[in-house]
Symmetry: C2
Subunit: 215 residues, 2 copies
DNA sequence: TAGATTGTTAATCGATTAACAATC
DNA sequence: TAGATTGTTAATCGATTAACAATC
């Protein structure tokens, strides 16, 4: 059976549906329809139905969607229904912040270790190992590592990415201020703070020209 | 004269052009054509010409684009041709990391102060003030603040944003794991790390289905 | 002038929205 | 059954790509 290719635009909205459904479930809401979901996501009901139907019929005509059911389906679609081991390359402030952020654990991400060339002065939560970069190959061999976070300086990022993919890691989350491109068989997501800040600067500068709506 | 509305898709590419042109200039490249730029950005030459022509004719037929000239034009378009004062709400690890990141200074961003309810144990670079949140109104009144960074917990983010916009700040850069929506007359950019991580998880899970290309 | 390459118009492609038949 | 709401097909809209006349 041929899986339909899901467009990038749809994938970008999936985490938003998920966050929204988690919230609704926490509030005790049991069912929701496409109109209500659309209002929460600030899009059209049509788009909600179109998006969700990409993955199968999760709703019921005349009723709507069961919140907990839909949330769990999207969680599974996102691959959050299992543990994923994470290592962090670079123990600077960003690396330390990520290593200490407890929110990730809620969705099954387990930060296993932080690697750096200088191990002194890296402070993380108990349970997260701090190790010299030379220990990386052994660690990856001996542990179940799905995701590598690149939290190095820009000039070291591409090298670090090559290194981890060379060790067989197939998911790279890059925080260095440069865009890493995905090679065949490797998933890459860039958090490019500079680009975001520059866009903010652009939007700010052009505020008067806007007719509302951006963000 | 009626300014043409620039689409979000184009704005998202502007920082990439800018980064690319800065790099070319540093390497001593003096001219570049749309085909070469397209190769660096991994898009089509047609798109490069289409994008740039939104802002005016920066090139020269038969020649191409002058690297330094185009870089400076895009810098100005992004609003990076001046100083912009930045304050940070929230002195946790993310807030501290941002307060200490020196790369922003290169583009005219000046981190002036970090505010929090608990000022102890916040360590930043010399020259950055650390103050209790109660000092915020006075500080904003007495200083030139363009941008407020929200680096609080998720539940405090919306309140913090209201607070700073209430004080007249018109640009908000949000790092809390929730999407702040822009009200009329306020520019907002969200760095939503959770969404990015979930998308990475999705891409990783669906790697085999991909025909290359993502990131 | 001949060659190169832009800026722009036209064609294509994909994503969003609207409409409605299916069905709970 | 009647009312509500989905899933899906068709229409619209916008963004990307191709083509080419303008021009350096």
């Amino acid at each position: 059976m041929r899986e339909k290719r899901i467009s990038e635009a749809v994938v970008r909205r999936l985490p938003k549906y998920y966050a929204c459904l988690k919230k609704l479930a926490e509030e005790g809401t049991e069912k929701v329809n496409s109109t209500a979901l659309a209002a929460l996501l600030r899009c059209t009901a049509s788009q909600v139905r179109q998006d969700l139907s990409n993955f199968g019929g999760f709703g019921q005509q005349g009723y709507g969607y069961d919140v907990a059911f839909l949330r769990d389906r999207i969680r599974a679609i996102l691959g959050l229904d299992r543990e994923q081991g994470v290592i962090i390359i670079g123990g600077g402030r960003i690396g330390q912040a990520l290593a200490s952020y407890e929110g990730f654990a809620d969705e099954g991400f387990r930060v296993l270790a932080v690697f750096d060339v200088d191990v002194s002065s890296i402070r993380v939560r108990p349970g997260v190992r701090v190790a010299h970069i030379s220990e990386l190959p052994d660690f990856v061999r001996d542990n179940d590592v799905e995701i590598a976070v690149i939290a190095t300086q820009a000039d070291a990022a591409a090298g670090a990415a090559e290194r981890v993919t060379g060790l067989g890691i197939r998911a790279v989350w890059n925080f260095a201020p440069c865009d890493l491109k995905a090679e065949e068989g490797v998933a890459v997501e860039n958090i490019n703070m500079s680009e975001s800040l520059f866009m903010l600067s652009y939007k700010y500068k052009n505020l008067s020209k806007e007719k509302g709506k951006n963000g």
